[in-house]
Structures are given as C-alpha cells and as structure tokens.
C-alpha cells in the first residue's frame, strides 16, 4: 500500500498543571493507506512535534519528517526500516524529528499489522506475547503518611509492584527522602516490588545520589531510576559501582538506539527503560531489547500516557519471558483513558500482555475524543501548513 495521509490530533485536558503527569495532553497520529488506518502517539509537546512534521525544509538534511513518510510504500517490515533510515538521514539536523517520528512509526506498525492480520509483536519476530507484571507508576505524596496511603491503595487495587517518584524526592534532605521510601514500603507490604524514580534530580552529583542508597537498600527497592541527567554516564557508572542490591534504571530520555546502548555499556544500568514515543518508535526499541538480552540487562517500557502507547511499548519485548516488569500508568487523566475503547487490564494473576489482535490490538475512540481536541493552526508564508484535522 501507499501511505496516503498522516494526521496529527493535539488533545489536552481542560487544565494542564506543572505536576509530573504526562497524561495531561497527547499527540495522536493517524496514518491512512489502502483503505486501512493505523494509530500511534508521540510523547510530549504536541505543537512542537507537529511543527517538525510540517515545517518547511531548511536544507537537505533538515527536512520535515513528513517528507520521508508521505507517499511511501508500506508492504512489509523492511519498509519501516527504510522509512526510519530516511528520517534519520534527511532530518539529521532537526532535533525534534525523533519524537515526531516515534508516533508515526507506531502507527505504521499498527497499519502494517492490520494489513497482515498479525499483532505487531509477531511481525517483530516473537512467537508469543508473554505476561508482564505491571507496576503502578505513582507520585510520592506530600507527606510520608500520604505516600503510605497511596502505596496501600495500589496494593488494594491488586498491583504487585509500584514505583514512586518526583514530588520533591531528592530535592530536600536525605531523611525526608528516607521517610517517604520507608512509608512506601510499609504501604506496599513486604512482598510487592518497590521502585524509586529520582527524575534526574541530582544532575551529575554522585554523592547526593549515593547518600540515598542505604535507605533504598533498607527498603528493598528494586531500582533507583534516573538519578542523573540522561547523558551523565560517568555518574551512572560510578553510582552503579557503589550500589550492591539496588540496581540503576534509566533510558527514557534516549532518542536513538545508541543512547540506550551507551547507558548500558558506559552507565552500567541494570534496567533499560525505553519510551517508544521518544526513541523513534517500536523498531529501535526492539533493537534495544535485543541488546539488553545480549548484555544481561532487563528491558522495561517507559509509559505514562494512554493504553495505545502502552500496547506499543509492550511490543518490543513482548516475547521476552525473562523481562517481566512493565510500567503501567496508574493515575491517568480521563483523556489518556478515553483514547482507546479497550484497555490492557490485569488478568487474574495481576498480569498484562501485549494484545493478540492485529496491529497494536486496540481501537481508538476517535469521536469520543473530540472534546479534548485543541484547535491548532500553523500558517507559514501565507499558506496554512497545519490545521486540526477531523476525526471522520
């Protein structure tokens, strides 16, 4: 088939706050061709990602992402490789391109899966979709008591794992942080997995991060996530060498395969966390998963938006039965919930799987999303190069 149209839908909650909650807006991507449509989702800053798709060319290797996608042939997995290589080359100097293409690439997989009647994970070469243990991705409370209550609620909802982060963690005293981590463990009970996300708070300050390790170890934390700037491999490596039981996790900031590999090779992380909405989509994420297997590092998705993004983020490691932990948006805004008609709900064992149905296996609730549409228009040189499309 030929890629006939790529449409971007900028959605947002009526109010967007400074909370570390990525489900407050979304950029849905619809790709149409051969009478079918596929859907994907870009991570963060809808307007900027739209601009990178429609912007006028600056020169030969700073072309809009759209130039590498529209009108292309899409009949097989090799076509996605080819289109991705085109984007990488022709948008080399357009920084946002990786984020923009991520959502488009997901939609290409969804479309190809529908064409072939196969789930994406099978097109990726996996023979089965293995169960994953979803962890509830939560913000710390304002007080340790609040953190404890949140952890209890997570347990009551049936989760066997939870991650707490942000909300001041790492910015105050070591003692306050320790109180929160201890409270989270108390709330979760002794058996559930506990992870902690520092959200890059220490920059490259090794000692600040290292000072938290004893309290994390005492609480039996599985990992400490993003202690440092996404590219501060030296600090990662040094902290990794000083930590015995708590492994480091990171990788969500990777916008190409190299960056994720570097965090493994130079940073010494034990868990590599990939956001398919940032790294360029499902294919580069699968390459990271392969690399993680080879390096004995665990692959984990990074997802805090819709179940469309969740399904996409499960595909790259769907068949890896030893890579079992999965980020699960536990407090999404209604917008993120309503993007798909179906949801990836935990089964009787509290586990989820990438769907068996074709493509990403979920249908988009297009008409129901109209109320979240942010009407957007971009005019350049007197010509409208982007206007919010219609769902129909």
């Amino acid at each position: 088939m030929k890629i006939e149209a790529v449409d971007f839908f900028y959605l947002a909650m009526p109010e967007v706050t400074t909370a570390a909650d990525g489900s407050q807006d979304a950029l849905l991507v619809r790709v149409r061709g051969g009478g079918l449509e596929g859907w994907g989702e870009c991570e963060a800053s809808p307007l900027t990602s739209i601009a990178a798709f429609v912007c006028p060319m600056s020169h030969g290797v700073c072309r809009p992402v759209g130039d590498s996608v529209l009108g292309q042939k899409l009949d097989d997995v090799a076509d996605i490789h080819r289109i991705a290589a085109l984007v990488e080359r022709d948008s080399m100097d357009l920084l946002q391109a990786a984020h923009t293409f991520s959502g488009v690439e997901m939609a290409l997989w969804d479309l190809l899966g529908k064409l072939k009647g196969e789930p994406v994970w099978r097109l990726l070469g996996y023979r089965s979709s293995e169960p994953k243990v979803p962890y509830a991705s939560m913000l710390f409370g304002d007080t340790p008591d609040e953190t404890r209550d949140r952890a209890r609620q997570v347990l009551e909802r049936g989760f066997q794992a939870a991650k707490f982060g942000w909300a001041g963690y790492g910015a105050g005293s070591r003692n306050t942080d320790a109180d929160h981590v201890r409270a989270a463990r108390e709330g979760l009970g002794p058996d559930a997995l506990l992870m902690v996300d520092a959200g890059q708070i220490w920059g490259n300050d090794l000692e600040a991060a290292a000072s938290r390790l004893p309290d994390l170890e005492a609480a039996g934390a599985t990992w400490l996530e993003e202690p440092f700037h996404a590219s501060a491999y030296d600090a990662y490596s040094a902290l990794s060498a000083r930590s015995s039981r708590v492994r480091l996790a990171g990788g969500e900031g990777a916008h190409n395969v190299y960056m994720a590999r570097h965090l493994i090779d130079y940073g010494g992380v034990g868990f590599v966390q990939i956001d398919c909405g940032r790294i360029g989509g499902i294919l580069p994420a699968k390459q990271v998963a392969d690399y993680a297997v080879a390096r004995d590092v665990k692959y984990v998705n990074h997802t805090f938006t819709s179940h469309l993004a969740l399904s996409a983020s499960l595909q790259p490691y769907a068949g890896l039965s030893d890579h079992r932990i999965c980020e699960y948006p536990a407090e999404p805004k209604s917008l993120a919930v309503e993007i798909t008609r179906e949801h990836l709900l935990p089964d009787a064992n509290g586990q989820i799987k990438a769907p068996d149905s074709p493509g990403l296996g979920l249908s988009v609730n297009a008409i129901g999303l109209t109320k979240y549409l942010v009407d957007t228009e971009i005019k350049v040189g007197g010509r409208t190069i982007y206007a919010t499309p219609s769902f129909t």
Copy 2:
C-alpha cells in the same frame, strides 16, 4: 535588568534547496531588556524552534522554553547559568528545547555584554581574543575537476585552509572519493590545510570509513569529520585506533555538554566541533572548550550560517591560542551575509578574531532583512501564540 521580550524572526531565501547548505534560512532571536537588545541565532528548522518556545506546557518538565526565560533577571553571568539550568530542568522532555535555547542564550550574552560594555569572551574569563585560521567550508564538486577548481578558488581568495564534504562523498566508490580528495589537495597546493567531511554517511560502518583512510592520509588531510552517526562512539573509537595521521573530528550534533565529552572520551576524536546554535549556546560550548583543553583535544567551532553565529561560535575558545582552526562559511547565501552590518573578515595574515566590541560585537541589519522575513502565525485553542514580530 529584566528580560522583557524575546522575539523570533524566521528568515529564508526565496528558494530553499536540498543542498547541504545551512545558510538558506535562519532563525534570528532578539532579546530586549533595560533599554538594550541582544541578538542570537538558532541553528535549523525555524518553525520547530519557534514552536518549542511558545508551545503550551505538557507537564511540569515539558514546559515551553519561554517559561524559563521571560521575566527573568539578567545582571550577571550567573544569571545565564541559572536560566540555562531552568531550561534544562523544566524542558527536560521537550527535545527541541536545546536548539531553541541556543539562539536565546547567544542573545542573552550579547545583551549582557552590552550592559557591561565587555565582549562576551571577556565575560567568559578570557583575557585576549586570539587569531584563528579560518577554513573555507565547501561542498565537493560534481566532478574531481570541479572540486579542484573550487579548491583553487579558495586558495586565490586567500584561505590557508579548506574543508570539503557532502555532495556524494562516501556514498559512491572509494576510488571516486579518492579522486575528489586528491583533486582538492591539488587545487589547494601542498601547504594549505585540507579537511574532509563525510556527513555521517557511513552510519556505523567501520570498514567503509576505514577504507578511505589511506587516500586521506596520502592527501595529507588534517581530519576526517563525522564519518558516523553522531552517537556511534564505538565506531569512532575503532576508526580512531586505526588512523595514524588523520584525526577524527565530530561534535556538531551535540545538544548538551555530555554528548561532546562522550565523543572525546568514548569516541577518541582529535577535534571536537561545537555548534553554539545547537548545544545550548555559548556557556555549554565554553565548558566543552575547557574539557578539550584538559583532554588535549582541539576545539573547533561549527558554523555555516551568518557572522552573528560565527562571532558567537568564536567566543567559547577565543582565548585559546593553541586552538587555531575555525570554520568559516565560505559560500553563504545573501541572507546570511546581510544579517550583520559588519563582517569578520580575514586580516593581512588571513586570520580572524572574535570582535573586541561589547557583546557579540556585530550589529544586526534589522530593517534590511525584512525582505527575507517568512510571515508565520501559530494559533492554539483560538489564541495566536506566535505571529511574526516587527523589526522596529
């Protein structure tokens, strides 16, 4: 003073082609405060970089760059550090932010320099502005004869150094590449410095790159630039180990200090090339220059647009007398030439220097640029969040 206004001017030539010529459009930034104004320039994709400044917030660490700049205090160098840290934190998930802030940051330095009556290089701690040897940055010709002619013309114009690249180099046979490199050397004569830019053409294909080394060594090339993807440190390192006289150069793709340091530490480059229009401006570039000095690597600017960008790109290593090579746009489009009233022209020794006058030391030819203005408007949710401002 307080930063009162930040205005973006999208400029373009009437026709923009797929040539590897970055001077075909420009994004000028004007920052106003305290009755003064400073100017800077972002590298590539004006529309996308504007969007990253004005876009609605997605969440707490995906805020528009504007939120970290507008209304801020600017009285001293420490304020630029502080504002840069704000952008890094609050726009963590906005990929384009580094490119957008680069032009703003240059303008902040220009403004601060004017406030203090000092050139930027002095504010950076240098005591002198040392002469640099400009190299003409050229595209290879379509034929070796054309390449030879171009090299001769460069020599006749008084350049003592030239870099050739792109235009198919690396994409065809080794013999064709060798013919072009030999022709370039013939045209330049035996004494001028010759550099070759592969424009990432070999991805991470070590053997393809290594096969060109003998011909580059035979032609006495000073460096081979960007043989690989900007993040392919393994390939850089392996090629570096196999090259005796020709050093590797790279770094223009770095959008933070870490990436440039990694190319030195993990990639083994001999020359680190920084574009102040991408790495986040002058301050991070200065940090890379300091690091290069410590690691015995040569710092080089990456610039292929206006002399405003050229002045900005000279500041970070202005005081380093041992780091003498400087990229000089040799075939800029009229737009790039007309951005500044003054130009950094080679002196009797064929050398250039960062200006001694306050700020970046060049004045912007605002009214004269009106003919290049690309009328642009961005509307979100019924509100115009960007419209091309007036130069007056």
